[in-house]
Amino acid sequence: MLALLPQLVLTGLTVGSIYALVALGFVLIYTVTGIFNFAQGEFSMLGALICATLLATHAPLALAALAAVAAVAAVGAATERLVVQPAFGGHPLTLIIITFGASMVYRGIALMVWGADPYALPEFTPGPPLILFGGVLGRQALWAIGLSVGVVAALFAFFTRTVWGAALRACADNAFASRLVGISPRRMSLFAFTLSAALGALAGIVIAPISGATYDMGLALGLKGFVAAVIGGLGSAPAAVVGGYAVGLIETLTTGYLTPGYGDAITFLVLLVVLFLQREGLLRGARRRAA
């Protein structure tokens, strides 16, 4: 029973780091615009599949990955400009349905372009896995954990050390007051969508060598990302990262110790419990002032 634990924890941390990246992108859009972007997971799917296609043309991995991240960032910006921006100020329901519609469009288009068969991405640095506390940690898993920690550190520096980061934080804190000092909430919203699409794409590219890339991978990834973000309270990036690791650990531990098929059900049960505990007002950072 206990012999299994190190392996499960290592696997949990690996998938958790991916969920953390998705959750980060999600929280970024939510705090800046107040929009629940249901298409977040699809950015990861697009990143992984575009990267796989570029690799098939014998492009070097780093170049393919960068180009894929840039392409998906453009998709994120286009999504914001074409379908989200025009609906600003409408009923919250409108925006929820629109982002859900966008996720369906991306999934459908991906199915038409790439088909239903999974694509394999090579590991970034092939080689024998590490043995840690009696568990096996693949090299790609190290990449996943390392990249997510690195991205969180970079984001932290960005938010605290740069003018753009400060502008984003200002907009998240009070959009109206930001406008008074010359920050355009619309431009910040575009920026948040672009950045979080790039984060999502990165998550997809890193996890694809482990799980494969399919047109429907975005749904599960996105949902786990939401759960992670909600567990983290939706207001802060570090909490979302912790939430991501929590979801990853819960998922692997329950599939390891309980019957395998129930993993998804338990993740969402945790979500319901968290929602139940939060109630109104307990949710710090989730209340926003209108622009």
Partner: protein
């Protein structure tokens, strides 16, 4: 004026009832009759979703309620041999209870948390249907479910089922019309406009939202139970997230707050789905499965951006403006 409007509405209803009653006789084929039956089932779910929309809520878990309704009624009728006259209402009660439990913690939260919670419930229920093999039969489903029947009368043909399901549709629409046109309806419209404003007027927002949510789940359960006894075989796949999305598209096409629109939306999207399934493989030969989602996604976005009140209301408004213009000319 009000009396005249009432009389005209009654006339309309009688005409619609007569047209619906005559439809199976005029149906060109058995396929058309099956399609009408499916539309009827979807219409019940969609009208429930529209009721929910009237309070500014949207659910992505309707397929779960639809599915629980189907499984509960099917299991009671198949394993315990109970009459469908008892199992269908029992299924509805079970689902209403489940919806109450889901709504209790989540309806107080902001809109998107409620959507997320219903989405989560949908996924949990679908996982349970697949995993609880001893009860639900797992992925291979349940076979040999008894058909509808009571007092020695059995519903065996498509035509008989047509009358059962469309009677339920009309009843569902009338109940929904009643709910949305009186005190509750005014309260719901106030909540749709502004929850805070409604609460300030003394409207018990949480209670009204809960009632509408439970009612919408009950509608889905009724449709699910009827479905189980109609097809007489159920498996988890028609109750997945994809089905919830499909119901949402129907409600949005009809207009999220328009009861009759829900009926039209269900019919339009069901027919559209059949057309897409028939035509799309000719355009994209190598894809199978859920490629229609792209079209439905575009439909959702375009409607929400340009016709938030739904295509049906839009068409009605256009017709009215034209009539008024004619009247003045």
């Amino acid at each position: 004026m009000a009396r005249g409007g009432g009389r005209r509405r009654t006339l309309w209803l009688v005409a619609l009832g007569a047209a619906l009653a005559a439809l199976p006789v005029a149906a060109p084929s058995a396929y058309a009759l099956t399609l009408f039956n499916i539309i009827g089932l979807y219409a019940i779910v969609t009208v429930g979703l529209v009721l929910l929309g009237s309070s500014g809520q949207v659910s992505l878990g309707q397929a779960a309620f639809y599915g629980i309704g189907a499984y509960v009624s099917a299991l009671l009728a198949k394993d315990l041999g109970w009459s469908t006259l008892a199992t269908v209402p029992l299924a509805i009660v079970c689902v209403a209870g489940a919806a109450y439990l889901v709504g209790l913690p989540t309806l107080r939260l902001a809109d998107h948390f409620f959507v997320l919670a219903t989405l989560g419930v949908g996924i949990i229920v679908n996982v349970l249907m697949i995993q609880m093999v001893p009860v639900t039969g797992g992925a291979s489903g349940l076979r040999d479910i008894p058909g509808l029947g009571a007092w020695g009368l059995r519903v065996t043909t498509d035509r008989q089922f047509y009358y059962v399901v469309w009677t339920c549709v009309l009843a569902a629409v009338l109940v929904a019309r009643n709910v949305t046109s009186h005190r509750t309806g005014r309260a719901l419209r106030a909540i749709l406009g502004s929850e805070v404003g409604a609460a300030a007027l003394g409207i018990d927002v949480a209670r009204y939202k809960m009632q509408v949510f439970v009612l919408s789940a009950a509608y889905a359960a009724l449709a699910g139970a009827l479905y189980a006894h109609y097809v007489r075989f159920i498996s988890p796949s028609p109750f997945s997230l994809y089905a919830s999305l499909f119901f949402l598209v129907m409600a949005v096409v009809g207009g999220l707050t328009n009861i009759w629109g829900g009926l039209v939306g269900a019919a339009a999207v069901t027919v559209l789905d059949q057309v897409i399934r028939a035509e799309m493989p000719l355009v994209f030969p190598r894809v199978g499965g859920e490629y229609q989602t792209a079209i439905y996604g575009i439909l959702l976005i375009v409607i929400m951006l340009f016709f938030p009140a739904g295509l049906v209301r839009r068409a009605l408004d256009l017709g009215r403006t034209r009539r008024e213009a004619d009247g003045q000319a």
